[in-house]
């Protein structure tokens, strides 16, 4: 290989949950470092499943995944946290901690990375103001609307300026205006070097931003693949 190694490489990857059918079949693609890619497809196509594989929260039932220059199959369990801390993730169901305030939820990745100084809080507050939650800082996420929770989840995913940002339907619960504002956040991060992968079925969003697209259907990856590989 005389090219720079891609950030993510899938090689004939399949995924099944338990003994169920394969929900992802024979995925082969690469995502170069610094790319911005959409994953799209109808509901149940396997978008969230693909995000889970890339977040290493599920292991593939076949095939090879290589990320950050390492084979995930041979990765020791104790090396997983360090890799996860390089990945920011927005889950489709947010996965916020309801017993912590919004501020503490967003600060969690910083805390896990060992940062706890005075700068941390103001950094968190700035970000929360940017996503329009500056007046709900000490509330529990459980008291927020779906769209507000989504914004907390996004703030938590980007606070650490991760190397890889995975977002599963990050604009699914917000109106267009806030959606564009959140995408702006992703674009900023992308400019700073973060590789961004957004799963969405919002065709408007995809068209407006015009990045490469990976299209899933019934677990198979459709032509978008070529575009994904051609990304900068």
């Amino acid at each position: 290989m005389n090219r720079v190694e891609p950030l993510i490489r899938f090689d004939h990857v399949g995924l099944r949950y338990g003994s169920g059918p394969e929900v992802l079949r024979d995925l082969t693609f690469t995502v170069p470092a610094g790319a911005f890619a959409f994953v799209t497809g109808p509901s149940g196509a396997g978008k969230s499943s693909l995000i889970r594989l890339m977040h290493l929260s599920h292991r593939p039932s076949r095939g090879l995944i290589r990320m950050f220059g390492r084979d995930m199959a041979t990765l020791a369990k104790r090396d997983l946290p360090a890799i996860r801390r390089r990945i920011g993730v927005v889950f489709q169901d947010f996965q916020l901690l309801n017993h912590l305030s919004i501020v503490d939820n967003v600060a969690l990745p910083l805390r896990l990375a060992g940062a706890n100084g005075d700068g941390v809080r103001s950094h968190v507050l700035d970000l929360l103001r940017w996503v329009g939650l500056g007046d709900r800082l000490e509330a529990s996420p459980a008291t927020l609307s779906g769209g507000e929770q989504q914004r907390v989840a996004i703030a938590r995913a980007v606070i650490n300026r991760p190397d890889l940002l995975l977002a599963d339907e990050p604009t699914g619960n917000v109106d267009d205006e806030i959606g564009m504002r959140l995408m702006q956040l992703f674009e900023e991060l992308h400019k700073l070097g973060t590789t961004v992968i957004v799963a969405t079925h919002d065709q408007n969003l995809i068209e407006r931003l015009g990045h490469s697209v990976m299209s899933l259907q019934d677990g198979y990856l459709y032509p978008g693949l070529a575009k994904a590989e051609a990304a900068p």
Binding site: H99, S101, V103, R111, L112, A113, V124, E138, S140, R156
Partner: protein, 307 residues
């Protein structure tokens, strides 16, 4: 969920990440552990105290009792004749190998000794009583009791020689049993403490499993998660063990002042010295240390079973 009453301006001054990422103080039997540990450490400390007292008794019994021989001379005729005979016998005993001293107990001391068995001191004083000789040997087994008995029986077969061997054997045997029971109870209580710490940690893990999984997804290491449990366990075990220590100390001091030191005839009166108290207090840091280590191992084991 606890409400946060902080006003906005105070909230802005607050540093982040003060509390635990896992709400361990809430929900479940968590706090119950402190209540469980208080009586268990109480029992553990009492068991240690009993074992120390028995150890003290066993370590000192020979100083006090070994080498003490009682010779009982029955009265003959009147008091004067008896006294003369006693003097004669004392001379013989003094010559025996290994005898350090011989002393005849004055009649009132004899009465005092016999009173518990025979009753009213005033009446006893009127009786013609045997004379008790208190013989001190150079050390335990310095005097050949059989030979001494034979010599005495040459004078009068009614004279009895007693080195308190049977009596002491019984006392010491009983003390050893009590000590062994104390140590066994200590072992059982220690096991119970261990089990409750393991159970509390496991229960906490099960209750907060979802939170733990989210932390895992965020890249928290197993050690980070275990540390949260350890911090919580530290405060629970410390509270429980300190409460147990305070109640145990009150019990021991009360026993000392209300009943007085334990007195066993012919033996040393066992007491708890300053070093013993230090040992008793050590039960607290040991419990806390064990809680710290055991909760860590329990949580790490539970985490390794997570997918």
């Amino acid at each position: 969920m606890t409400a946060r009453p902080a006003s906005r301006s105070r909230a802005n001054d607050r540093k982040i990440g003060r509390g635990l990422d896992i709400p361990l103080g809430t929900g479940g039997p968590d706090r119950f552990l402190a209540w469980l540990l208080a009586p268990m450490t109480y029992l553990a400390i009492l068991a240690v105290a009993v074992a120390l007292l028995v150890g003290d008794l066993l370590a000192h019994w020979d100083n006090a009792a070994a080498g003490v021989i009682s010779v009982q001379v029955p009265p003959i005729g009147d008091r004067i004749a008896t006294t003369a005979r006693v003097g004669q016998i004392m001379d013989i005993i003094e010559e025996v190998d290994g005898v350090a001293s011989v002393r005849a107990l004055p009649p009132d001391e004899t009465v005092e000794l016999l009173e518990p068995w025979l009753g009213d001191a005033a009446i006893l004083a009127e009786l013609s009583l045997p004379v008790m000789l208190d013989v001190r040997a150079d050390g335990p087994e310095a005097v050949d009791i059989a030979a001494l008995t034979a010599t005495m029986h040459e004078i009068d077969t009614e004279i009895t020689v007693d080195d308190h061997g049977i009596w002491l054997d019984q006392i010491l045997g009983a003390a050893e049993t009590v000590g062994a029971i104390a140590l066994a109870s200590l072992g059982l209580v220690a096991l119970a403490i261990l089990a409750s710490i393991v159970l509390a940690a496991r229960a906490g893990f099960a209750i907060h499993r979802q939170t733990i999984e989210i932390l895992h997804l965020m890249g928290a290491t197993d050690r980070y998660i275990a540390r949260q449990f350890q911090r919580r366990m530290l405060s629970l075990t410390l509270r429980g063990a300190l409460a147990g220590l305070v109640i145990a100390a009150i019990t021991l001091v009360a026993v000392h002042f209300l009943i007085g030191p334990v007195r066993v005839p012919l033996t040393h009166a066992p007491t708890l010295g300053p070093l013993d108290w230090v040992l008793l207090c050590l039960v607290v840091p040991i419990t806390v240390g064990v809680g710290w280590a055991v909760s860590r191992l329990t949580i790490l084991a539970a985490l390794s079973r997570l997918a």
